[in-house]
Symmetry: C2
Subunit: 425 residues, 2 copies
């Protein structure tokens, strides 16, 4: 593995990545949809054809991980097999099928002086993606950036270095064959952590950093970066069961929101129950959760009714379990739910279950989260489920993009003004 130790080396390496990225960006910005799709389709073909080579590179990473005593769970994230490689190739094919956002007109209008103004989507420019063990991010992020006209500099986890390098080589080969610069996709060729620091200071050429990983990575990037960051922070998602909720619907939706997959960012972590629904709705919902193997931590009202519930503390209201555990709080109607979410939420995804349209409208208007839902499972917080196709992540930023970030959200716009020799008085 190409590990460097001298900080000067990291600086020089990142500067060279930048020089190449800037050159590639000019061509990619103006590339035709056809050329981009050709490169992506070819990359999918190469990934399928070179499955053995990818798996061999991955085996090196797995071997090193085992030697380093990596946990089974992390090893599973790192592991590639035939099905997972096919999944990557399929992901590229899916991105080929998505519409190209570049060049689309967002809006247009004409001024009284005759100036015709339009806003047209253009690529953001050069995006740095900093991620951890999952090698499939290499293909996903690379392809999303290519399709949206953005040059990407990938900084994968050191654990997945060989796997990522094998995948990047195929993307670059496909780019070249399609007549696009291979430097549209570059992998930081060192696992030196100093290279990350260099990227975070590269305001001269890097337009955006997308960190994908655990809290400590996001924290480091947020603290150190001088480059704008599109980030995903906590997903402390809430489901509020209102007095006017259908009991069967509440039971289904809460069970799905919490237990379908407990490890995704859209999984519900806290159930809020209307005080007026405690005696009718609470136990059907909790019984179903118990049946599915979910631990329940509740306030005193909940404990009074559910003998299996343990005591929730304030820390529970602030915890993203990502596990089969749910905290349950009693609130005074929709106002109480809105207040609880404002106090303890992470502005990710919240859902209200109610048959009352007026109550739903208040919740949807006043809960200030990236995604607010009515009678739907929080597990729909996902680019694919939104119909965006692939996503590079869910943004909990307030600026630029909130919620799922797909191709469109990876673009910005320019203002085009057309006159007839028009001058300003």
């Amino acid at each position: 593995m190409n590990v460097l130790t001298k900080p000067e080396d990291a600086a020089a390496i990142v500067a060279e990545l930048g020089r190449r990225a800037r050159e590639a960006a000019v061509a990619l910005r103006n590339a035709s949809t056809e050329a981009k799709n050709r490169a992506l389709a070819d990359a999918a073909r190469l990934i399928r054809a070179e499955t053995a080579a990818i798996l061999a590179a991955n085996a090196k990473d797995i071997e090193a991980a085992k030697a380093a005593g990596m946990t089974e769970a992390l090893q599973d994230r790192l592991l590639l097999n035939d099905a997972r490689v096919e999944g990557m190739a399929k992901g590229l094919d899916d991105i080929v099928a998505l519409p190209d956002p570049v060049g689309a007109e967002i809006e247009s209008w004409t001024r009284p002086n005759g100036l015709a103004i339009s806003r047209v989507r253009v690529p953001i420019g050069i995006i740095g993606v900093i991620y951890e063990a999952r090698p499939n991010v290499t293909a996903d992020a690379g392809a999303l950036c290519i399709k949206s006209g953005n040059v990407v500099v990938l900084r994968g986890g050191s654990d997945s270095f060989h796997s990522s390098r094998a995948i990047v080589e195929l993307l670059r080969r496909a780019l070249k064959d399609a007549g696009l610069p291979e430097d549209c996709v570059q992998l930081v060729p060192t696992t030196d952590r100093a290279a990350v620091g260099e990227m975070l200071r590269a305001t001269g050429w890097l337009d955006l950093i997308v960190p994908r990983g655990g809290r400590s990575l996001i924290d480091r990037v947020t603290e150190e970066s001088r480059v704008p960051v599109l980030r995903h922070y906590d997903g402390i998602c809430h489901v509020y069961v209102d007095r006017d909720a259908d009991i069967a619907m509440a039971t289904d939706v809460v069970a799905n929101a919490k237990m379908r997959r407990v490890s995704v960012c859209g999984a519900a972590e806290t159930l809020l129950v209307d005080r007026a629904a405690l005696d009718t709705h609470l136990m059907p919902v909790l019984s179903k959760l118990h049946e599915l193997g979910c631990e329940v931590r509740g306030d005193s009202e909940v404990q009074k009714r559910d003998p299996k519930a343990t005591a929730a503390t304030e820390k529970d209201w602030r915890t993203e379990y990502l596990a089969p555990v749910i905290s349950v709080a009693t609130v005074d109607g929709v106002d109480g739910a809105i207040r609880h979410i404002a106090t303890f939420g992470s502005q990710h995804t919240e859902s209200i279950i109610t048959g009352n349209e007026a109550t739903a409208r208040r919740f949807l208007a006043e809960v200030d989260s990236a995604i607010v839902m009515h009678n739907a499972s929080t597990q729909f917080a996902d680019g694919g489920e939104f119909g965006l196709g692939a996503e590079i992540g869910i943004s909990t930023n307030r600026m630029h993009a909130r919620g799922p970030v797909g191709l469109v959200e990876l673009t910005t716009y320019k203002n085009i003004v057309r006159g007839k020799g028009t001058t300003r008085p």
Copy 2:
């Protein structure tokens, strides 16, 4: 003037501003258009009624500025008079008349599983505006934020402290009378520079910083801020005169782009002339500039033809003069112009003058600036001229908003998802 020196004080003051801002933000986010308009119209009325008090406060600032030896030009920026106060009040009336962007649906679609998804504009949240001597920014920025549902914390220049305080007091009185929290607008009550540092680190409650001022302010904010920044950097704007340009149109547009007002960010700084147009277009354009009192600095081809032109150096291509000076470079057609702009431009505003639609299309597509124009003066780079109404500035960011930032650009969106008890398989 309330100048504090202990850094602890600045930290405590800014923390208290934050506490109040967060409380006010909940009410303002959900305020009706009517309430916001009532507050703004009332503020305009109060500003007119209290002109004498505002001028008295401004006189204190001017007196201190004179004593400190401030230049005449800066004193003029600081000075208020009846006409300028009326201009502020008129500015508020204009913002009342603009449509409220909050709650507007950007797009909506339905998924095959029946989920109805929409993206709806919501306020960004809490915005910090850090500005220099111009006291009118207090009213403009305050009103734009109120109308777009954003709480604003204003940090005016110490030179304009009394003027800004007088204006903020009237805005707060109007907010209160309209039933909105007066803390929707707060002025940092100290001129201690440490307070700016505290704002730049206030990621816990501040959603956006908008610096308005000179290069050194922007540089400090860019370097230090942990809060996202919407900034306006250099405006090294170019006009390219193509071989297919109408000579009279080129002459008019260049003269307007450079000389209408030389101090605005959209003023042209560099003229690019197609080598194929040197003998036909150059001298008519330059003669007009000379006639208007503009200094010309050109490359050797320009100097050969214009005896009054002095020699331009590479530094000229990188200079925003904001003065009656223009640099003139010969380029090889539209490709040369695109290359020159990519190398030396600041991605603000560039215009092509040509009668050739294909050439114009290439320029508009390939020049990667916030605003690209065809047959129009770069001096139209302005929110009012775009029809946005008032603007808080021109963004040279690539993310979130590019070009003029008006009410719409001061919002973000939330994703609203409506189901029928929908769960994810």
